[in-house]
């Protein structure tokens, strides 16, 4: 079993970081956590679960997100006139039925990232009214693909919680979601400037 060395590779040059490096690595909790852990992982002797082979599903879902998102973005940007004139009168609440991607308990998407997404989501919902109903429908399908990918990757992370690659795939899904919102907002702004 090969292992990577643990600990600083080079002594830090910054005196404060050098002091930080000297801090004790081990800090013991005030109580023994083992009884609660043992209770949670089941009866003594029960072997750990065999990992479900979820990587291919997660990988396929992430690939699908990238492909579908790229296609939709291309479609949105290909012909800017197709989306005008705005259809505000037809769909005053067009953005209300848009559900953003929900990231599961195993993902490492931070509260700040969710807040940034939600800020953009508000502008995105406003911009949706400038799009044709079929485009909005395509966006909803795209978000459903992203949701499926986020769910698959989250399930894979539950089995392999230390995987940086899975975390990267989830971060990629998050970026695709932001990119989708951003593309729609940018497109709306472009149309506004032209009119």
């Amino acid at each position: 079993m090969s292992t990577l060395p643990f600990g600083p590779r080079n002594p830090p040059e910054d005196p404060l970081l050098a002091k930080a490096a000297e801090l004790p690595k081990d800090v013991m909790p005030q109580r023994d956590l083992w009884p609660a852990i043992a209770a949670r992982i089941g009866q003594a002797g029960e072997p750990p679960a065999k990992p479900a082979f979820r990587w291919p599903l997660a990988l396929a879902a992430a690939f699908l997100v990238a492909s579908v998102s790229a296609l939709l973005t291309w479609s949105l940007l290909r012909d800017p006139q197709r989306a005008s004139p705005p259809v505000i009168a037809e769909a005053p609440t067009a953005g209300a039925d848009i559900v953003p991607v929900r990231y599961g308990p195993n993902s490492g998407i931070s509260a700040a990232e969710i807040a940034a997404r939600d800020a953009l989501l508000s502008q995105f919902r406003d911009a949706l009214v400038t799009l044709k109903p079929e485009t909005r429908e395509a966006i909803q399908k795209n978000l459903a693909v992203m949701q499926a990918a986020a769910d698959e990757i989250d399930a894979a992370l539950a089995k392999d919680p230390a995987s940086g690659m899975l975390q990267g795939m989830l971060a990629g899904t998050y970026k695709q979601e932001l990119s989708l919102y951003s593309t729609v907002v940018t497109k709306r702004d472009g149309l506004t400037r032209r009119t």
């Binding site: 643990f6 404060l16 490096a21 750990p48 308990p105 195993n106 490492g108 539950a158 089995k159």
Partner: protein
């Protein structure tokens, strides 16, 4: 009488994979200090850190058959712990937890404590705890636990450049709060 030999993590992992809870408890005893220390320093909340350390070991138990030994067991556990901390921050519970800094990294009640002494480990700990989360994470992973920028970036799910920028920011904030003029 020879001292009892401490079993290696690799052998304990092999036994734990076969369902040996005693071996897993030994792994817990060997690693709980580092896992709890990491969680405590990343959250600044002892109760949260205890919960997260528990979550880390429960996740590790469930995922043991998938551990391939490409990194040390300690590093593998730390990756799980970091993911648990990040997930916690995202949760409604995590968002409601009190931080010593606001979202922009401005200290909230730090001045009342007076100037910190960089020669005192407890003051170094307090200076780190006062950092905004992103800056604190990289100081904990890179500064205290010795991970490279690349490793820390992968663990945190951010770009290497972001890690370096956060470390630069952290050093600036810590120097300001310590009242030191060290420049690198």
């Amino acid at each position: 009488m020879p001292a009892p030999q401490v079993e290696s993590s690799a052998e304990l992992v092999r036994r734990a994979c076969r369902g040996d809870m005693g071996a897993f408890e030994d792994l817990y005893r060997q690693h709980v200090g580092r896992v709890y220390g990491l969680c405590l320093r990343m959250t600044g909340q002892p109760e949260s850190a205890e919960d997260l350390a528990q979550d880390t070991f429960v996740s590790a138990w469930r995922s043991l058959p998938g551990y391939e030994g490409r990194s040390s067991f300690s590093t593998w556990l730390h990756r799980i712990a970091v993911n648990a901390v990040l997930a916690r921050r995202r949760s409604p519970q995590g968002r409601n937890e009190i931080s010593m800094t606001d979202d922009s990294g401005e200290q909230m009640d730090f001045e009342a404590e007076g100037r910190l002494d960089e020669a005192t480990p407890i003051d170094i700990e307090r200076a780190i705890a006062s950092l905004p989360p992103g800056a604190r994470d990289i100081v904990v992973l890179h500064g205290i636990y010795g991970y490279s920028h690349e490793e820390a970036a992968e663990m945190l799910g951010v770009a290497v450049g972001t890690c370096k920028a956060q470390l630069h920011r952290a050093r600036h904030l810590m120097r300001a709060r310590m009242g030191t003029e060290h420049a690198t």
